[in-house]
């Protein structure tokens, strides 16, 4: 079973959901960290407040430092409702004034009695502790008293958790909202494709006119490509239709003539005239055979133009071979034949069969209609293209007439008018062109082809 590729909407939504999830996870982690920070800050202030109140109650009476921790300090700490409270007060001489000595050994105030905060383990439980110093001076005592206040961390954990949960709820709600609106947006954005689909679906099988749907610029190239494709298809179809019509027309005449000759042959009693008719029938049959061959060649060229794979080939070899096979075995005339290969290889991407047919036609045309004494074939390589010239010493053809000859069944007499049309078809299907020129040694019909692309690049006709 072939797995269907995921739909565009699914792809987009899954991708966005992934991005959203990653973003949401990041946000939640951030919110958690921030919540912990905020909770710590809030409850650290309570701790510090209590420590300051206790420190404020330290005084020296009769040369002895004493402390009277105010109830308000404990009430301040009680704002962290369920947390246990530990504290210690150390006198300027280092003696414990009240509280737990063990706690005072864990943490002391910062330099010059500044507030110090730490997470500690006291009596086996995690506590948050603050320490501050208070400078005392008296006639007998100078020094710094220390106050340490610690509290378990239930309240701050609860606050942090509460804040985090709220943040999670908000992030989740926003993510859901974002995803929902993205799903809608994707649907909306893909709607032109649906319209395009509807337009195409409603078309009849022969409707090959361009699509004129107004589309967003992202889809315009697709529509353009579709239009180009249908355009080529339409052209090809009409060429085929034309060809069939022309071929039918061209075939009808010789067949009718042939039928006439056979009729004459059947009813003529004169032996001399019968031989004459028979000769005519022979000629007509040969003519018909040539025409059929050419038509088939033309059909083949048209077919290969669309389907044959293009090979990298050296046109010089091909031109040489075609020239060699085209030289008439029996010609009354004394014709001088020349071949001028280029110094470097002339590589083109092409279909050898079509190109051979085209070159054969050009040489054949030259021999039939142009050549008086000389025929030469030259292959020229310039930076832009590869050109094969078929040159004869005949009178040549004016450019405007040459253009007309490129259409099928336009003959200047003698042939069926398919030779140049086939060559032209081949030239165009290879991205090249067919033209005429007067050159030094005579009249040249030249087939210009682009260079083969460097290896690795795909050959595009």
């Amino acid at each position: 079973m072939i797995r269907r590729p995921l739909s565009l909407a699914t792809r987009l939504i899954v991708l966005m959901a992934l991005v959203l999830m990653v973003g949401a996870a990041g946000l939640v982690a951030l919110a958690g960290a921030y919540a912990r920070l905020a909770a710590d800050e809030a409850y650290d202030r309570l701790l510090a407040g209590a420590a300051f109140q206790i420190a404020g109650s330290i005084e020296i009476v009769d040369g002895v430092a004493g402390v009277d921790p105010p109830v308000s300090a404990f009430e301040t700490l009680a704002l962290a409702q369920d947390d246990r409270v530990f504290y210690a007060v150390i006198g300027p001489d280092g003696a414990l004034l009240t509280g737990e000595e063990a706690l005072a050994r864990l943490i002391g105030p910062g330099p010059s009695g500044g507030l110090e905060t730490a997470n500690l383990v006291h009596r086996g439980v995690a506590v948050r502790a603050v320490a501050i110093g208070r400078a005392l001076s008296d006639a007998q005592i100078q020094g710094q008293a220390q106050v340490v206040v610690a509290q378990t961390t239930l309240a701050r954990e609860r606050l942090a958790q509460d804040l985090t949960v709220k943040a999670v709820v908000i992030v989740a709600a926003l993510s859901a909202l974002a995803l929902a609106s993205m799903a809608l947006a994707v649907r909306f954005a893909l709607s032109p494709l649906k319209r395009l689909e509807a337009v195409l679906r409603e078309r009849g099988p022969t409707a090959l006119h361009p699509i004129t749907l107004a589309t967003p610029k992202e889809i315009t190239p697709l529509v353009g490509a579709l239009n180009q494709f249908t355009g080529r298809l339409a052209e090809h179809l009409s060429a085929t239709h034309r060809f069939i019509a022309d071929a039918a027309h061209q075939l009808r005449t010789p067949i009718a003539a042939l039928a006439g000759q056979v009729d004459l042959l059947a009813h003529d009693g004169d032996e001399g005239r019968r031989r004459h008719h028979l000769q005519r029938i022979e000629e007509r049959t040969a003519q018909l055979s040539r025409l059929t061959t050419q038509l088939l060649n033309h059909a083949m060229v048209i077919h290969r133009a669309g389907t044959a794979t293009l090979d990298r080939l050296d046109i010089t070899d091909l031109a040489g071979r075609v020239l060699a096979s085209a030289i008439p075995l029996s010609d009354d005339r004394d014709i001088e034949i020349a071949f001028h290969p280029p110094a470097q290889p002339a590589l083109v991407a092409g279909d050898a069969v079509s190109l051979g047919e085209a070159l054969g036609n050009l040489i054949h045309n030259a021999l039939k209609h142009g050549v008086e004494r000389r025929l030469s074939v030259a292959v020229l390589v310039d930076p832009a293209s590869v050109t094969i010239q078929v040159i004869d010493d005949g009178p040549g053809i004016p450019v405007d007439q040459f253009e007309a000859l490129l259409e099928p069944f336009r003959s200047r007499g003698g042939g069926f008018g398919l030779g140049l049309a086939i060559a032209n078809e081949v030239a165009e299907s290879h991205g090249g062109s067919l033209s005429v020129a007067q050159v030094e040694s005579g009249f040249a019909v030249q087939l210009r082809l682009p260079h083969a692309p460097t290896r690795g690049q795909e050959a595009v006709p």
Partner: protein, 362 residues
């Protein structure tokens, strides 16, 4: 000089602490066997609460759960606290449930991590001021009252406020000399708690103890002794006496009147906790829930402590109507703020002031 003072202070501290630790006063043990006569394994309630008050509650509990024997051990608050602290430090224990009128001591135990959590329908119904960390629960509502001898103090002289009391002592010093009594706050945890709270809440407290000092203040260890002395006429007025015990004594025939100071009455909630190392914590939870239930509270109101958690005051107590609504009943919040009362330095300082001003006579 400083060294000498510190040595003396240390010696005093040791002298104060050592006898109690070295020779703990043995608690009084009362057994409530199960209905089939078995006595063990019993729910061990260790309490600084009179048996008279607790007995009806225990009996009611056993009516509901006849199979559970109860062992009730009665202490003075400080001794109970010392024993619980020692147990907690040693990581062992025989006590299932601790009941103490010294809520501050129980809070200190909880703060030291000596209690188990208990959360039930009954505990969550308690007002916020009567519980902390789900480990300590206030289960009574006991105002600190002025108790007077009904016959020996003329109706016109019965003080209704602290100011009345100060004025009375100033007006008739000779008549009341040596006849005013309160707790010995060095021995009685509840006495200390009442005095310390009073000192914080009432601006008249300083004048009051001065007046006491001039008149000669008699101190006793316990509510029972104070109430006996007042009933017998040896004392005329008792200050900051647990109204629940006073009411119980009057129910039993003592000729006394109970006044809730109209200018603000401190209310104590007796504290209960289940120690970490309780051998039968499930039984303790059962008893605690029973104590806090409607049924338990009804027994407490009618037979044990006479004042309800809702602030309801018996009609035959001298108190202005709607005290609770007027905010004149001020419960001591069970929570970390009580740790202040347990602070050594603070306690010493307060006791020094007290001794200097009140000049108590044992």
């Amino acid at each position: 000089m400083i060294a000498w003072v510190r040595t003396l202070a240390a010696l005093l501290a040791v002298a104060w602490a050592v006898p109690a630790l070295a020779q703990p006063v043995a608690p009084t043990v009362h057994l409530f066997p199960a209905s089939d006569g078995t006595q063990a394994p019993a729910l061990a309630i260790h309490a600084a609460t009179d048996l008279v008050a607790m007995a009806p509650l225990i009996r009611d509990f056993q009516q509901r759960y006849p199979d559970i024997p109860v062992r009730f051990e009665e202490y003075v608050t400080t001794h109970l606290f010392q024993r619980a602290t020692a147990d907690c430090a040693a990581g062992r224990g025989e006590m299932d449930l601790i009941l103490s009128s010294s809520a501050d001591q129980v809070v200190a135990l909880v703060n030291d991590g000596c209690a188990q959590q208990h959360r039930s329908l009954e505990t969550t119904r308690l007002p916020a001021w009567a519980r902390w960390r789900d480990e300590v629960f206030g289960f009574t509502f006991e105002p600190a009252a002025i108790v007077v001898h009904r016959d020996l103090v003329p109706v016109t002289e019965v003080p209704e406020t602290r100011l009345d009391l100060i004025a009375l002592l100033r007006a008739r010093p000779e008549r009341y000399r040596g006849r005013i009594g309160t707790y010995d706050i060095e021995l009685s945890g509840i006495g200390f708690l009442f005095a310390a709270t009073d000192a914080r809440q009432s601006s008249l407290f300083g004048q009051l103890i001065e007046a006491f000092g001039r008149t000669g203040l008699v101190t006793r260890c316990c509510s029972a002794d104070l109430l006996d002395d007042i009933a017998a006429g040896r004392l005329l007025i008792g200050y900051n006496i647990l109204a629940s015990y006073a009411y119980g004594a009057r129910e039993r025939g003592a000729p006394i009147e109970i006044v809730l100071p109209h200018d603000g009455t401190i209310v104590l909630s007796r504290a209960a906790m289940i120690p970490t190392h309780a051998p039968n914590p499930a039984l303790a939870r059962l008893f605690l829930d029973h104590l806090l239930s409607e049924r338990g509270q009804a027994i407490a109101r009618t037979q044990s402590f006479f004042f309800g958690m809702d602030g309801s005051v018996p009609l035959d107590v001298i108190a202005p109507g709607g005290m609770a609504a007027a905010g004149l009943l001020r419960p001591i919040t069970i929570g970390p703020a009580l740790l202040a009362e347990q602070d050594r330095a603070r306690r010493q300082r307060f006791l020094t002031t007290w001794r200097r001003a009140a000049r108590p006579v044992p």
